[in-house]
């Protein structure tokens, strides 16, 4: 465990020095994420010009949800996104060979090697938005609710990673993951909408099959509407299941992998 932690510190050091090589690009990326946050907040602000409630939540409650998914997105962008971008290329070009022979888990290495330094600045910004929203939240809450929300945000980031991996891993069999990745980003919009808008079979899809509503909406719901076991167990259960499915497909994929130019 300590070895992995030390290795991760090296990844961080390397990523920061690499990011500072291209300073203009570093700042462009920061501005890009600011644009993403602004557009998302503005979207809900405009919606609330025309409705007092959305899915039973007021504007202040909705902002808890918005800042939650912005924070989860920032965590994923910082920790996983660059690695996820390159993973299909590693598999396609046979670069995976080099990672398989290393005395370390290839999944750990390939998922965490590139830490996105510019997104780290945005992560701080997302954290500031989250803190501002919480501190201006007009309804009552307890320390437990906040701790639970923090924990579920981390779980949401992991679930997001699992879902993204599940869209990338077919590359072991299909040679190109572009279509699946485009699909993933399209489904991603479900994470940015409160789960209460989905009813019937749509709700089943977004809470079980492609559980994007569990990433940010359920954690926000547990904070806004207070803790309840069924919702909590739903999040944890589905997250655990997706983690296991992802690991099993990863292992199957490695068995299928036929080295360079596969």
């Amino acid at each position: 465990m300590r070895r992995y932690f030390r290795l991760y510190l090296h990844f961080l050091q390397f990523s920061f020095s690499k990011a500072m090589e291209f300073r203009l690009d570093f700042f462009f990326k920061i501005f890009m994420d600011i644009a993403y946050y602004s557009v998302n907040i503005l979207f809900f602000k405009v919606i609330f010009l025309h409705t007092p409630l959305l899915g039973g939540w007021s504007q202040e409650q909705m902002m808890i949800f918005v800042s939650t998914y912005i924070l989860i997105d920032a965590i994923c962008m910082t920790v996983f996104s660059t690695n996820m971008w390159w993973l299909p290329y590693h598999i396609n070009r046979g670069d995976l060979d080099y990672h398989l022979i290393r005395p370390i888990s290839p999944l750990f290495f390939l998922s965490l090697k590139e830490f996105s330094a510019n997104s780290f600045v945005n992560l701080l910004m997302a954290l500031a938005i989250f803190t501002y929203t919480i501190s201006n939240y007009p309804y009552s809450y307890e320390a437990f609710d906040l701790i639970l929300l923090a924990g579920l945000i981390l779980n949401g980031a992991l679930l997001y990673y699992c879902c993204q991996m599940l869209m990338i891993l077919p590359v072991f069999w299909t040679q190109s993951a572009r279509g699946f990745m485009d699909l993933f980003y399209s489904i991603g919009i479900a994470m940015e909408r409160p789960d209460k808008i989905f009813t019937g079979w749509r709700r089943f899809i977004f809470t079980f099959i492609v559980p994007f509503s569990l990433i940010a909406s359920f954690p926000a719901k547990l904070f806004i509407e207070k803790f309840n076991w069924p919702t909590f167990l739903h999040v944890i259960g589905v997250s655990g299941l997706f983690w296991m499915i992802m690991l099993s497909i990863w292992k199957k994929g490695l068995k299928t992998y036929s080295s360079a130019s596969s």
Binding site: D25, V39, S176
Partner: protein, 268 residues
């Protein structure tokens, strides 16, 4: 030599169909899922407020608005981000300087191929939507709105292409323009009406936007297809798109004349 554009188009179509599974996943998955999520959102808003229309849009029209806007944005974006910058970074840009045709003409035709292809997708989805969800079917008026809207989308795509030229050619100076393009797309999507019909913005914001090219890129063509824009708005939109196109293309010329001197031809 005269028909070179046909060869370029045929080549681009072959590229689009090269990865068929990707194509079908994108074609069906993306559009279906985005529509599903958006319709769910607006359904909740309409039901929550117990109203049948908002800002002149009924739920059925709102669904069609997003369907058309989503595919319309593909028409607008044309070729993928990096269609010039990637070649500058890799050094393959040199070939355009050697071709016996203008680089801008070549890239315009190549981008137009993508826009035309997505226009066909739009027509297919429009007819399918009417077949399954609109009881009254398609009238002659609907068809005239549809083709006027698609024409406006293609024109907007040419306007966006000028903007894309400007940013992509900055690759002659800077290391990465991908993020700039993404940023521009975010703003166009929001201020152009891709996230929400512009009628929902406060009046002061709508007035302000009239001075920019944003409303003519997505909102106007979509409203035209839905039959919600007047003849005057369409005519005004047409001339304003042309005006912005001429203005931006003059900037492109300046950037190109200076940028050519920066190009080393060996890639970065």
């Amino acid at each position: 030599m005269k028909l070179w554009w046909k060869d370029v188009m045929a080549m681009e179509f072959r590229k689009i169909f090269a990865y068929r599974s990707d194509f079908w996943i994108t074609f069906l998955g993306q559009i279906f899922i985005q529509l599903l999520v958006t319709v769910s959102l607006w359904q909740a808003i309409y039901q929550g407020n117990e109203v049948k229309t908002m800002q002149g849009y009924g739920l059925e029209q709102m669904a069609l608005y997003y369907l058309v806007a989503n595919i319309g944005m593909r028409i607008l974006w044309g070729e993928n981000i990096g269609f010039i910058s990637r070649e500058i970074y890799e050094g393959t840009f040199t070939r355009y300087l050697l071709y016996p045709i203008s680089f801008f003409q070549y890239k315009t035709i190549s981008s137009l191929s993508y826009s035309l292809f997505y226009s066909t997708q739009l027509l297919i989805f429009y007819f399918l939507y009417h077949l399954f969800f609109i009881e009254a079917g398609i009238s002659y008026g609907d068809l005239s709105h549809l083709f006027s809207g698609v024409f406006l989308f293609l024109l907007s795509a040419m306007l966006f292409l000028q903007l894309a030229f400007m940013i992509e050619l900055l690759a002659l100076w800077v290391d990465n323009v991908w993020t700039l393009m993404i940023m521009v797309r975010f703003f166009i999507t929001f201020f152009g009406g891709g996230f929400i019909p512009l009628k929902f913005l406060p009046n002061w914001a709508q007035d302000l936007l009239q001075w920019t090219p944003f409303p003519y890129l997505i909102d106007l063509p979509v409203r035209t297809i839905l039959g919600l824009s007047t003849q005057n708005e369409m005519r005004e939109g047409f001339f304003l798109i042309l005006f912005w196109m001429v203005l931006l293309s003059s900037f492109v010329k300046i950037i190109w004349s200076k940028g050519q001197k920066q190009y080393t031809g060996v890639g970065i």
